[in-house]
Symmetry: C2
Subunit: 227 residues, 2 copies
Amino acid sequence: MKLIYSGKTKDVYELDNGDYQLKFKDDVTGENGVFDPGANTVGLVMEGAGRAGLSLTKHFFEKLKAAGIPTHYIDANIEEATMTVMPATVFGKGLEVICRYRAVGSFLRRYGLYAQEGQSLDAFVEVTLKDDDRLDPPISKSALEMLGILSANEYDTLETLTKQISQVVKDELSDKGIELYDIKLEFGRVKKDNAVVLIDEISGGNMRAYKNGVYIEPLELEKLMLS
Amino acid sequence: MKLIYSGKTKDVYELDNGDYQLKFKDDVTGENGVFDPGANTVGLVMEGAGRAGLSLTKHFFEKLKAAGIPTHYIDANIEEATMTVMPATVFGKGLEVICRYRAVGSFLRRYGLYAQEGQSLDAFVEVTLKDDDRLDPPISKSALEMLGILSANEYDTLETLTKQISQVVKDELSDKGIELYDIKLEFGRVKKDNAVVLIDEISGGNMRAYKNGVYIEPLELEKLMLS
């Protein structure tokens, strides 16, 4: 088993059969001890965060599989905090794809001249580059294509999948009386045929969720969703 | 004659017949006394900058008229540093449309992980919001449409016009042995029929131009182009 990549909230290993194994850590992104799904730094360590994140990820990836939406998921071992996935490569050095139902976070910081805080957005999809040094800049379809990061067809697939996946998550949260404000997804090309699939995870750390107007922390969200 | 708007490098008046008059100032954008066309502050005052900018603007707007490309231009009085234009409204609170032939400036600051400094770009068009407080954030076609700033059709017109206008400027500079790296344009809707036209100015302060690899300051560029 070979370490391929060590990330902020998980490590990626290559298994002997060629599949990848993700090891979920108890590290959570944020700043100064406050959780922020958009942050580029590990802000706090929460006991059990890895297993809780994986449990919710397993739940959603199995829902997506049932809905015929392609992901890299094979199976998960909650006790070990590991998930086995199909090997995939990211676009360029990694992208984040955000689907927004309400104007908060970096959207509001950029477009606050035209948007009110909390205003409804109709599943608005944006892409940002994973680039800590440049604060994850937003990037358009045409710039992504021009810089050779992905093709126009791949972009369209990624946008369509993002809306489908986000709707599945939104509906699941809604069943528990929880409202999804925004969610951050990652996509890659699976090695066998270069198909665009959802990769990484879908946990509390990837989204902003509110209940009766009150923000729900990731661990609390995972508890509410899986109870 | 009524002052409608006082900008960083020019003032806009409404004439008695309803046309607008732009008064070009000697103020130049930049920081700490160094010219920067992307800067949001007036960095220096250069004697004659207003008349020189207007002279080059007149030159280009008349070239564009001859090429059948729509602008707000009516006529200019170089001595007075004034230009008479058709009244127009900006999109939202104002957009800047940039056409890039080489990767420099804010493009490189955002996408430097994927682009080399000075790398060729194929007339790449980007839009930024005029919003000093939020450092003129870049914005995609879909976000512009979603926020009601312009329609998808208007965006397409604006992108096509930007490429046509930039090519005219690039060719003119090229005739003098000067290379255009990037140029920043503004568009608006003329009041009579809401048609999308080029507004504002095309002067040294709107572009980055190089001769034999050496950057040319706006006043010097205006001198070279009109000699």
